[in-house]
């Protein structure tokens, strides 16, 4: 399948710390992809590299085959809602739409933004700073959608919203990309928000990609096995043990499979996406900060 976004060995460093490292992934066209990881995992860094706000320190990033940094051919095709939805606070929503039309020749469609904002009941002439967080997020989304983007990037779009506004925001988002075929990449540190809307998954932690793939494939390929205490011998059908926990007599394994588990000693269970993601997040190295804190390890 044609991919919209490709990175290879992508890395970004702030001073000595790598915020993102060895990131190689590709996002197929038409997907709604969730970029999941805890705070500080490198999600914002990855999105900023994709939109060209940052330039890579290692590897490369290609969007529709082009490098995105300061690329005015590409930028009108990518909608971007940055974290905390930055907008000019003394502008009115209507002025922001005008701004969008002045800055994006070509594909821009002011009516898309106006219709959306009208439907959502957002006043056109009230300064943005007087709008609620949810309304601001909607304005930012409307501006991104008015580009009629081929790729839409959203950085923690729902983080500052209450549960009701979250649901409304995601519904509005899905409603508008459903029939345009826009590829969406949205980040969150809460999977719960995204599980219902995404069909593709990228899990980041400590600046590295931990898991990536189609949600249905992931669900199909991972299993939880419960059986007698495991001694490390290979289990037919299992290609990788992601996480294991043992009691005296019993082992619980989260495994990647390439076929049915035929050994009757093991009981298999389906895994939820949440289990799968958590399993991939815990296997990170915890950097020793004991010396930095001056306490014994």
């Amino acid at each position: 399948m044609e991919s919209v976004l490709d990175t290879s060995g992508l890395g970004k460093r702030y001073k000595k710390n790598w915020a993102l490292r060895d990131c190689t992934l590709s996002l197929p066209s038409g997907r709604v992809a969730a970029l999941v990881g805890p705070n500080g995992a490198g999600k914002t860094t990855l999105l900023h590299l994709v939109i060209g706000l940052l330039r890579p320190d290692a590897g490369g990033v290609r969007v529709f085959g082009e490098s995105p940094h300061d690329n005015t051919k590409l930028l009108p095709r990518i909608g971007f809602v940055a974290q905390d939805t930055p907008l000019y606070r003394d502008f009115t929503p209507s002025e922001l739409v005008t701004m969008g039309s002045k800055l994006n020749r070509g594909n821009w469609d002011s009516d898309v933004a106006r219709n959306r904002l009208a439907q959502l009941g957002i006043p056109p002439d009230r300064a943005v700073r007087k709008l609620s967080g949810g309304q601001r997020a909607q304005v930012a989304l409307a501006l991104a959608l008015a580009k009629r983007p081929d790729l839409l990037l959203l950085d923690e779009p729902v983080a500052s919203l209450d549960p009701l506004a979250r649901r409304e925001f995601l519904q509005a988002l899905m409603g508008s990309v459903a029939d345009t075929g826009t590829t969406v990449l949205l980040s969150s540190h809460l999977l719960g928000d995204l599980e219902r809307v995404c069909d593709y998954m990228i899990v980041l932690n400590s600046g590295r990609v931990r898991l990536t793939g189609d949600v249905d494939d992931l669900r199909a390929n991972y299993r939880q096995l419960v059986g007698p205490r495991h001694d490390g011998a290979p289990i037919p059908g299992v290609t990788e043990i992601v996480r294991q926990s043992h009691t005296d007599r019993q082992s619980t394994l989260l495994v990647k499979t390439d076929g049915p588990i035929t050994d009757p000693a093991w009981t298999t269970h389906d895994v939820t996406l949440e289990d799968l993601i958590l399993a991939h997040l815990v296997e990170t190295e915890i950097r020793g900060t004991h010396t930095a804190w001056g306490v014994p390890a």
Binding site: H48, I51, G52, L53, L54, R55, H69, D70, T72, L75, P76, I78, F80, A82, Q83, D84, P86, L87, Y88, R89, D90, F91, E95, T98, M99, G100, K102, L103, N104, R105, G106, W108, A140, L143
Partner: protein, 323 residues
Amino acid sequence: MIWLTWRQHRQQALFTLIGLAVLAALIVPIGLAMRHSSTALGIPHCVKLMGDGAYLSSDFPDKCNNAISQFTNQYNIVNMVGVLLLFVPMLIGLFWGAPLVSREIDEGTHRLVWTQGVSRGRWALVKFGLVGAFTLVLSIAYGLGVSWTMTPLSQVGISRFAYLSFDMQGIVPIGYTLFAVAVGVLAGTIWHKALPAMGATIAVFIATRVTSALYARPHYMSPKVLTRPVLGPGAAELNPAHGDFRVHEAVRDAAGKIVQDNAQVGCPPTVTKCGGVGKGAYNWMQYQPGGRFWAFQSIETGIFIAIALLLIALAIRRVRRIS
């Protein structure tokens, strides 16, 4: 981009214009009052009597000397207050230059505006260009206004070529203002918060202005020298009508060695010793003739505009590379 720049800065432009209007409301009445007293004291007539000799002729009427000293005593304070005006270009740089890029990044709106279909280079060029043009107009108005106000005073007392006077009239305020704005803009691309950028602007502006005024300006053209014997007519009292710029003065002995720096002495020819020096000693003065005023103004303005353009080019480069 033009619309966006106008929309973002129209309020600030309004406040700036109000500020300048208040300033004008202060200095225009002073200028008018000075012209009124100048005429009342008969000073325009005295200025004619000064002639064009290098020194004031000895038959310059006492009446005129009195009128001039009365006038300068009354209005010297204007020159003191005028010192405050020297900071206007810096203020423009602080409030128009320093926040231009830094506030955008500090408030995160660069993530909005740099991800639209306008390149950062064009964004910077249009913004810097329009803000530059606006502050250019402000500085022209400022320079002309102060020149007009100070004219009566610079005819008789403090030369417009002297330190401080030179710095706030004519065309140099244009150079200083554009320079201050450019320093602010560049500082904002280095420190992405308005306050540190403003602090850097103050430091760089003052340091550059002081250095250029004290160490570069006297040497734009090779100065002329006037000498006069100590015994005799006395200290070289230059004709104020010329509006010369005194660079350096000293008393030298017959061998030409400086015996008193930054001083002039004069005694009647009948004495043999005068202020510790004797026969053959002379007052020595290095000066830039008043006729070079506009040449010096152009040179200084040119230097500051050139530096400003260089800084803006660097700022655009930095904006394109911010990552």
